[in-house]
Symmetry: C2
């Protein structure tokens, strides 16, 4: 397996994408890896494996490395008199904007580059929390009730306190607040509107059980990770979550019964099928009175949720062997011929 | 106004995109236009205005014209010793796949090129008829009941005859059949599955009134076109529709009362707002017992529905003056600095 790890991006999660990439370098030390960095100006750089350290990026040293352009079937590096092609399967590891909103997916699709990651449709439904709610309704999956507030309107809150405030389109807890009473609301909204023009409110579920499950599909079969009960804080703040992106140690299986395990896997399958093919995703669930609620879909989870898989490298190999491809259209110009002929008469 | 008309694409609607572009050349004869053709292999060519004729493409003569590459803020043409930049606002006129599925939108977004056309989210919700149904449910807009059939499963039809069979992701009536009785169903499904792995069934509404309304938003205000009652055949077959893409003569206003006009405009606004900003779209509606049902959203209508507007050129100018832009993210590497420092201790 040869993988090109694509990371960075013009996103609030740019830095955690760097951390994810560094983590995967260590985790996949026996894989043929190369690293392509997308900077905030959307320029691509080929990063030497030995330079895959945080300091390379914070000091701007990546700018001294070879610049690449994206082209048909790979990335191209111009040399003095010629050019070098870097091709292989791309692992899209850009978290947040660019990576998870469909932009990079469309770019890779357009240039016929094979990749691990969500396709455009799947990105739209997982990136924007409003559309995840629509997906839940359409697929008959339970989720928390919610309210959307747009910055430019007067609002009347119909979610009871305590509630949680989230920008609709960011992950990694950026801009997220728990609001215990009305007096704290304005500040929390101001913070969230810093990041997005739409904000989602949901009830904050105290004492609820949380479970994370990752997985992917290959040749029609779903491969599930271990189910984890994530460590609880009041909630994960950005710095805590940031460290989370560098996780590489295999977790312990959550202590749950077979019925709940089956329910979680069944809900995961309903979400995944006919939408997330090609991606390894992590779904974060709440469990309330034995019922499974979808909290969030992470279509490019931090460090690819490697710590949830018994054999992470093998998992990527299985997924890589069954990536979606687009059927190419043939055009024969029949209609144009018939018009031209009709005009000639 | 300077516009780059981008047309072609790897799509079953490749040829009608060429017809659309030729129509706009005539309609916008006093605008500074250039034409960029995307061929089925996703190569871009700059087409001389004088060569904007069907025969150029059917004879493959576009291959002799300058090849372009997409780059930051425009298209680049390499010359012997240097390169020429072609920049300006792009009018995305690629119908169907590539143009309407979010691919071209993402490409233009990534390279910071301003464009008229649907953004990625809007594309996903209008291109796939399944997701248009989800949008209707979420926005409380009426639409016909439907059933989805996937090629690889046994099906039990729960839509009464006569019904209409459509590939979920194609426009221009390609692969569409009216099925009057069960004996005709298998053939109609075979035809539709030629084009898509998912097929949508809906009741075929005999004698229903149809109305088309186009429009766009600029600086917070919606600009509506004339409402047309399209010419009725049993339905528009591809060749008839094909000719439709070359329309340029202004239509007559449909003979409807103010109440219905207000209902159609109100439904259009519900669909458009917070999703289709930047695009000029045409919505096709059914009216049944005074109730408005959404049939289809065309986010890049044939020849941009120019024939529905009193002053088409002015409409494009108004739209161009208010295109969405992306707020660029700044990265300061604070988190990476703090990690690096923590490690140094």
């Amino acid at each position: 397996m040869r993988l090109i790890i694509l990371f960075g991006g013009a996103s609030f999660e740019h830095e955690i994408s760097i951390v994810s990439a560094i983590t995967l370098k260590a985790k996949l030390s026996d894989v043929d890896l190369s690293f392509v960095f997308c900077d905030v100006d959307h320029k691509f750089y080929l990063i030497e494996n030995a330079k895959m350290k945080a300091v390379t990026f914070s000091k701007g040293e990546h700018k001294k490395m070879p610049e690449l352009s994206i082209s048909h079937r790979g990335f191209t590096q111009k040399t003095m008199f010629s050019s070098v092609e870097h091709s292989g399967t791309v692992l899209n590891l850009i978290h947040g904007a660019d990576g998870e909103d469909g932009t990079i997916s469309a770019l890779l699709d357009f240039f016929s580059i094979k990749y691990i990651g969500p396709r455009v449709d799947a990105s739209v439904f997982s990136y924007d929390k409003r559309y995840t709610k629509w997906l839940c309704d359409a697929k008959n999956i339970k989720c928390l009730k919610h309210q959307i507030i747009s910055s430019n309107e007067h609002y009347h809150i119909n979610i009871p306190y305590p509630l949680i405030v989230k920008p609709t389109r960011l992950g990694s807890s950026i801009g997220v607040s728990i609001v215990k009473e009305e007096s704290e609301l304005d500040y929390a909204l101001d913070v969230a509107f810093e990041y997005d023009s739409n904000v989602l409110l949901e009830p904050f579920m105290q004492g609820v059980k949380e479970y994370n499950l990752a997985g992917f599909m290959s040749k029609g079969e779903i491969y599930f990770s271990t189910i984890e009960e994530p460590q609880k804080n009041e909630f994960l703040d950005f710095e805590k979550k940031y460290m989370d992106f560098s996780r590489s140690k295999k977790v312990l299986k959550a202590d749950i019964d077979d019925t709940l395990e089956a329910k979680l896997k069944n809900t995961f399958t309903k979400i995944y099928k006919n939408m997330f093919e090609g991606a390894l995703i992590r779904c974060d669930f709440f469990v309330l009175n034995g019922e499974v609620f979808l909290n969030e879909i992470n279509p490019i989870p931090g460090s690819m949720a490697n710590y949830l898989f018994d054999d992470f490298k093998l998992s990527l190999e299985i997924l890589s062997s069954s990536l979606p491809t687009t059927k190419r259209v043939k055009v024969n110009y029949d209609y144009i011929h018939s018009i031209t002929q009709a005009k000639g008469k």
